[in-house]
């Protein structure tokens, strides 16, 4: 019996260890490439064990940091503003939809729900934001299209208010003379931190990782987020490798950051998430679980 159990433990560990390695090694490769010597990479290729190390990439980034710091600022700004405004709008819409006293809650819930089933897609959305709201090359284009990431979050929050905030608490607050908005802010929200944390977290990660809005709405590098800088570098590599080696390519080539610098920028882009991960992991896993129950 125990020998069978031990065998299972070892098999499970071996299998999972392999998968864990497959998940971690690419990150390690990224990091190692950022601290490798440029010549070593050009000679031996990207490697987990570069022959020579160098901090040239990070020194280069520190020297040429103006654009990078700006991009970092943009990423932080859209993440903070987008997440907090998005969370506020989501909660304010979700709460009335959970209250029986609110007359039109059923039709309005359907209006939210329908956006999950059906959408206009890229072309009309693009035209609405560029033609009617003139958001091209503004910071708004990086914030507004993601504010309510998905109607799903609103329904998730509504379900939480419905099931986890007791009616009695809300009623007694009303009897004590608190207005509906006061009740919402000072009674309901504090009781709902788990769902606020979960939805906020997914929204925050979404903003931090977003490159799509930058790609379709932003051409002015002044509004590039970190992701968009990385995207631009990738496009330049692709452009050069597909165009013929003509005389002016040399110039362009020298303007593209070297291999190690590229990897260093990518490292800077992921590190904040990796550092924060242990702190939000609990909510992250919980969020995936509730999302799946009714998703």
């Amino acid at each position: 019996m125990t020998s069978q159990n031990r065998l299972i433990q070892w098999t499970a560990h071996a299998f999972l260890m392999l998968i864990a390695l497959a998940c971690i090694l690419p990150f390690l490769l990224l990091f190692m490439s950022s601290i490798a010597d440029e010549q070593a990479i050009l000679r031996d290729g990207y490697s987990l064990f570069p022959a020579e190390f160098s901090d040239a990439a990070y020194r280069y980034l520190a020297r040429e940091s103006t654009q990078l710091i700006r991009a970092y600022g943009i990423t932080v700004l859209i993440t903070v503003v987008g997440t907090s405004v998005g969370l506020a709008i989501t909660a304010m819409l979700a709460y009335p939809l959970s209250q029986k006293a609110f007359g039109p809650r059923k039709p309005l819930t359907f209006i939210v729900f329908f956006t999950i089933l059906f959408n206009g897609g890229l072309v009309p959305t693009y035209l609405v934001y560029t033609q009617y709201f003139d958001m091209k090359n503004t910071i708004w284009a990086l914030i507004v299209p993601n504010l309510l990431m998905s109607g799903f979050n609103i329904l998730l929050m509504r379900t939480f208010f419905l099931t986890s905030v007791p009616d009695a608490v809300i009623e007694s607050a009303g009897l004590d003379g608190a207005g509906q908005f006061r009740t919402f802010v000072s009674i309901v929200l504090p009781l709902s931190t788990p769902i606020l944390a979960t939805v906020g977290l997914f929204q925050g990660i979404g903003y931090w990782n977003d490159w799509f809005n930058g790609v379709i709405f932003i051409t002015n590098p002044a509004y590039f987020s970190i992701q968009n800088i990385l995207n631009r570098i990738l496009m330049d590599i692709q452009f050069l490798s597909s165009s013929n080696m003509s005389s002016h390519v040399g110039d362009a080539m020298s303007s593209i950051p070297g291999t190690t610098v590229r990897m260093a920028i990518a490292v800077i882009g992921v590190v904040p998430i990796l550092i924060a991960y242990p702190f939000f992991q609990k909510y992250f896993v919980k969020g995936i679980m509730i999302g799946a129950v009714k998703g």
């Binding site: 069978q4 299972i8 433990q9 098999t11 499970a12 999972l16 998968i19 864990a20 497959a22 998940c23 971690i24 690419p26 490769l29 990224l30 050009l42 290729g45 490697s47 709008i89 304010m92 819409l93 709460y95 009335p96 209250q99 006293a101 609110f102 007359g103 309005l108 209006i111 939210v112 956006t115 999950i116 089933l117 059906f118 206009g120 897609g121 890229l122 072309v123 009309p124 959305t125 693009y126 035209l127 504010l147 309510l148 609103i154 509906q180 908005f181 919402f184 490159w211 790609v215 992701q227 990385l230 990738l234 590599i237 990897m263 882009g269 991960y277 896993v285 995936i288 679980m289 799946a292």
Partner: protein, 310 residues
């Protein structure tokens, strides 16, 4: 009698003023971000002319669709979108279920938590970072595959970004790498929810672990598997844009293997500037996608009413 609908509505508004105000920003947002673009689907039936404005452009009926379906692209992108998603579903589900079952066997709390965290790492990062990682592996001149791994097996270097035959495998692997952790957590939650008594009884009867997995675990999580399957099938007409756009790095020679509806719509709109064709492809996706969501939900309802979205 006495109270009409209007009176009742008015009284409800008067009594719940605050709540009516609270929903305004959210509803306005949905109007602009979701409902206006839905109306905008009609541009697929127009000959868009910015000089005249979108609404005043001429109606041309199904012309855009005729052009679209006359090209070989329409078939190609439909086939790729459906084909890739179908393979993604099978591969991701098989792997995630296996991982979840193994993960559930781990008795050490520390390792269980460690594996879970590590498995979710790829799910946390953007597709841009993923394409940097893939490039580090596959780049012709400096990639780890060509420099380190292939020589070990005596295989000569491969020009990955120019050879379409490899891309179905590459995309399936990258997609699995990125998303397996997510599905695994979902299935693990279902497995943890199984009553331990079943296993205790089975152990007393002398059932082997493998038998327990086959006869207890899998049957008891099958409702969750089926629901997740139908959810994914409902989205089968939508491709992961980042995966198909970023990871192949827009390399021309492999386009037939990497072009899906979403990338086609993007290129039509942003690169080629053929808004009509692009809008027609997007409209085709929205409508077929909608029908598929309704259909899969209908099936879910038949199986288990509680799990249905509506």
């Amino acid at each position: 009698m006495g109270t009409t609908l209007w009176q009742r509505t008015w009284r409800n508004v008067a009594r719940n003023k605050a709540m009516y105000v609270m929903v305004i920003p959210g509803l306005l947002y949905l109007l602009v971000n979701n409902y206006l673009p839905m109306l905008g689907l009609v541009i697929a039936f127009k000959d868009v002319d910015f000089a005249k404005g979108i609404w005043h452009s001429d109606w041309i009926g199904f012309k855009n669709f005729e052009y679209l379906f006359k090209t070989s692209d329409a078939w190609l992108i439909t086939r790729n979108t459906l084909g890739y998603n179908a393979v993604f579903i099978v591969v991701n589900f098989a792997f995630s279920i296996a991982i979840a079952i193994f993960l559930n066997e781990i008795t050490s709390k520390f390792f269980s938590r460690f594996y879970q965290s590590v498995l979710l790492l790829p799910y946390l990062i953007s597709m841009i970072i993923v394409s940097y990682l893939v490039f580090a592996l596959l780049s012709q001149d400096t990639g780890m595959m060509n420099h380190t791994i292939l020589p070990l097996f005596g295989i000569k270097e491969i020009s990955w970004y120019n050879e379409p035959v490899y891309w179905p495998f590459i995309l399936v692997i990258v997609n699995l790498w990125k998303n397996a952790g997510f599905l695994c957590v979902v299935f693990l939650a279902a497995i943890i929810g199984i009553d331990k008594e079943y296993y205790e009884a089975a152990t007393l009867d002398g059932a082997s672990k493998w038998k327990q997995i086959r006869l207890i675990t899998i049957p008891l999580i099958s409702p969750v598997i089926v629901m997740m399957l139908l959810l994914f099938i409902g989205r089968i007409f939508y491709a992961d844009f980042g995966l198909f756009f970023q990871v192949p790095m827009e390399s021309g020679p492999i386009m037939n293997a990497t072009n899906v509806i979403d990338t086609y719509v993007y290129r039509g709109l942003m690169q080629i500037g053929d808004i009509g064709m692009s809008a027609a492809a997007g409209c085709y996706q929205s409508i077929v996608g909608f029908v598929l969501v309704l259909l899969s939900n209908y099936v879910v309802r038949k199986i288990n009413k509680d799990q249905a979205l509506f």
